[in-house]
């Protein structure tokens, strides 16, 4: 097995293009190295992107944030401006693994691992995050919800990898939140996850919203009906009931060792309600 360690994005895309066999991109390695160690992944080459300076930075762009693919969850949590603008996304990334894992795990890696239960992905989808894909052919921007194709599968083309994730600028009175249900308190895999991002007007009426669910379908799903249920409302009980109902209706989970269909469907609604309430409070605090 070959280990590649490019120091520039240009080198990275050409190295990746030159690989005939199975080459995996290594960021934090918290999924890839575990899979390799347990024999589930046997790549011909591994390309470590942590030496590419540009991919280790969080930069502001058009009032939003561009987060390099090699930025860890711990580094995100230390960026005060990012935490202030997108607390739900940062919290979601911060739920991945333990403190030690936090020093390594990246959102781009979490996205490309393509687990339906990935914690940062519903938060990113709710945030309207856009992934920038790099390849020898150049770059292209793709909505985060369009990256996973199914459990463990992405829509990335050969020779292409996620270089950064962009979180857009926040209008005033915006807030986001991510909640998950786990049997324990920490270091666990989501039975259901829910991300909500919304914007209020000066009167407290919701003018825009995005709602995403994790672990209830083969990929993280955006639920437009759930957003519609709260847009135009002040998130009163009736609106939250409608939101919860829309999320439960959109949830199409499987029953497995981690949870039953009935429970996941029910909890999808519960979490949406709670996440929306937190997002609303955060939006109000911004006013």
């Amino acid at each position: 097995m070959q280990y590649l360690a490019p120091t520039t994005l240009d080198d990275a895309v050409s190295m990746l293009a030159a690989q005939a066999g199975d080459c995996r991109v290594l960021a934090g390695g918290t999924d890839l190295l575990v899979r390799m160690r347990s024999g589930f992944a046997e790549p011909d080459a591994v390309m470590d992107i942590k030496r590419i300076g540009a991919l280790r930075e969080i930069t502001t762009e058009d009032g939003g944030f561009r987060i390099g693919a090699a930025v860890s969850g711990a580094e995100m949590a230390e960026n005060a401006a990012l935490v202030a603008a997108w607390p739900g996304v940062v919290e979601a990334a911060g739920l991945i693994g333990s403190t030690q894992i936090q020093g390594r795990a990246t959102m781009a890696g979490n996205l490309c691992n393509a687990s339906p239960a990935a914690d940062s992905v519903p938060a990113m989808v709710a945030a309207g995050a856009v992934a920038r894909l790099a390849s020898a052919a150049g770059t292209r921007d793709v909505a985060v919800e369009d990256i996973p194709a199914g459990p463990g599968k992405t829509n990335l083309k050969p020779g292409e990898f996620v270089a950064s994730i962009f979180l857009p600028a926040r209008p005033a009175r915006s807030g986001d939140a991510y909640l998950r249900f786990i049997p324990r308190t920490e270091m666990d895999i989501a039975v259901v996850g829910c991300g909500v991002s919304l914007t209020l007007d000066a009167g407290g009426t919701c003018t825009a919203a995005r709602v995403a669910l994790g672990a209830v379908a083969p990929t993280v799903i955006l639920v437009p009906e759930a957003a519609q249920a709260i847009i135009g409302t002040k998130l009163d009980d009736a609106a939250l009931d409608a939101l919860a109902a829309a999320c439960s209706a959109a949830a199409k989970p499987i029953a497995d060792k981690r949870g039953t269909v009935e429970f996941r469907t029910h909890v999808a609604g519960v979490l949406a309600r709670r996440a929306a309430t937190i997002a609303k409070t955060r939006a109000g605090e911004q006013a």
Partner: protein, 773 residues
Amino acid sequence: MNAEFDPSVGTAVGRSTPKLENREKVTGRAEYIDDLYRPNMLHAAILGSPFAHARILSYDVSEALAAPGVVGVITGDDVPAGRMGAFIKDEHALAKGKVLYLGEPVAAVAAETLEQARAAVNLIRVEYLELPAVLSPEAGLAPDAPILHEALADYIKVFDAGSTGNLCSRTELTEGDVDAAWAGCAVIVEGEFTTQAQAHVAMEPCGALAEMDAQGRVTLWSANQSVFRVQANVCESLQLPMSRLRSLTPRVGGGFGNKMEAHIQPLTVALAMKTGRPVKCVLTREEDFEIVRARHPFRIRMKTGADAEGRLIARECEVLLDCGAFADDSPGVMGYALLMSGGPYRIPNQRATGKLVYTNKLRFGAYRGFGNPQVSFASEQQIDEIARKLSLDPIEMRRRNLLQPGDGWFVGPKVASNGLSACLDAVEKASAWGRKPDAKPGTRRAKGIALSAHISGLLGTGAIVRMLEDGTISLNTGATDIGQGSDTALAQICAETLKVPVEMVSVASPDTDGSPYNWGTTASRVTYTTGRAVAGAAGEVLRQAMGHAAEMLDVPVEDLELREGGRIAIRGSNTDLPFAAISGRAHWAKGGPIVGSHTLVFDEPTHDPKRAIALGLPFPRIGVFSFAATVVDVEIDEVTGQARVTEAWSAVDVGRAINPRLVDVQIEGGFIQGMGFALYEEMVWDGPKLANPSLLDYKVPTSADSPHVHSIIVEDPEPSGPFGAKGAGEIGLNPVPAAIANAVGAALGGVSHDLPLTAERLLPRIIEAEHAA
């Protein structure tokens, strides 16, 4: 030096001496099995069965043997026909003729590197004839069920097991007249309960390293709870004389019952003998889940009756246990569970019966609590149920029924020290029981209580204490310290007896060549049972030292006394002799080196034939009871059903705390393990295959899940115990699932019939209660 120890202040027993090996562990110097290497050592990998039940028709190991680095391969054809087992000898070193559970080791490879061994194991070809599998005890008892052990009748059994078909053993205990007693009850409650399989998840997975010398004698290091059980199991299965095998132990990273009986020691020895080279085999976490052992799933039918004042009159308990593929400790677990099924109460009429059934699953065996948490889950909920029906407070209900000082235990064991009432008082006060906790909006919250008792006296043990030339002390017991701190506690008992600082006592690592027999670090027995041997052996050393001193000072022994710091003095005088002078004389001039030894086997009968009828009792001599009362405060999310323990209080009567801090951590650790069992730990099978053999999908509590556990030590000295001590290892776990279930019952109403109490299970109860209201 130990900062906490100040010899001028007092004595060794009752002090929270830090564990002797703490420095070694915090600096990473402690060596566990996987840290050991021998020159020329090979690494082993195991091939597991792909079927739950099948006949092995043939092996082809040629491809594996030709693979790079491979030095040897063993299959069932390479191991003798010997069978091992604590109660029923039904298990070979490696599957022979048949496989009985999915994952059962059928072959193993020794190679120069672990990678080569793992690659080669997949090149072994085994031809099977698949047989229908038995996946539940109910299925195992069906008239046309496939039979797992065709030769069961011929197996050696150490008790009257009543084995037949797939019935591994049966036990029946009766006292009083249960059938007649129901008529006199004002309240009767009855219910069915199930508990799940729980994995031990010791921090260190099982492993072994074996090496054969030029004489053909084998030295075996392994992660274990008893070097002597390792020796017995290896020698029985491989048909070796015990003198041919030396069993040793490195540091052990937790056991909880998992490392008491054999795991992969026999096959590792077989590989070392086959290759003539040292072989190390350490299980992966997944293998540790899949091929060692786990806590038994129980199906319990229980019925309890009381009079109108809440006094218990009758209790009936019927259990059905999944044994898994091999008997292991199962007959003991079932017998013990039945013995404990009445709880620490006066119940004049009791009947407890059980069936243990072979299934094509991983063997179930010893696990902290040994069947007690399972029956307590049923028993303690029925106490609360009766209290509710009679509008009695759960504590008042219990107080009316407590086993009183002087009372014996169900079936017959004597109970000497009994601090149960003090435990109940302590948790009532500490938890402010009478004050109802405030529930946050969207939550239900309540307290729950449960009581428990557990034995600590059984089987054989010994100690050798030597006074070294300079008067310092060497202690050798053969008891493996599995991380709980028994080396420290035993050193304290030795130091206390000889009035020397703990630092003057060295503790020898268990070694079947040099240590006296010790059945094992299990059953909460080391402090009590081995502690007695240590006190006896140290007492013998003192007797000899006194004899020397009397001759040296030319006074009668009666005029001498032992003083702090290890000095023997003439009473009322400043004339004294340090141990160094006495030991020097013994070594070089007169009498010979001072060595004291003491051995014992716990011999008080379990069964009193005048009191009860017992059939199929697997352990004829056990006793010495510790007691506990546990209160939990539980909060339940009304919309998800998720329960959390917010705070806990646990009072445990340990007779005398030799080392209070080590007792505290037993209480805390037992609580957390019991909470995991109550709320989320569950081994799940998908047909014959374990579906969650990983720390990703098998949920053990983390520190963030753990509430503040207030541990309260109660000391009602045990007359036969060393300095009054009794066991503390398991009792802290036993009442926890029951206490949590009782809190859930208080918060939501109703009885919890099935463990674990997951959100999925509790949510429908909340919704039902809302509909009813």
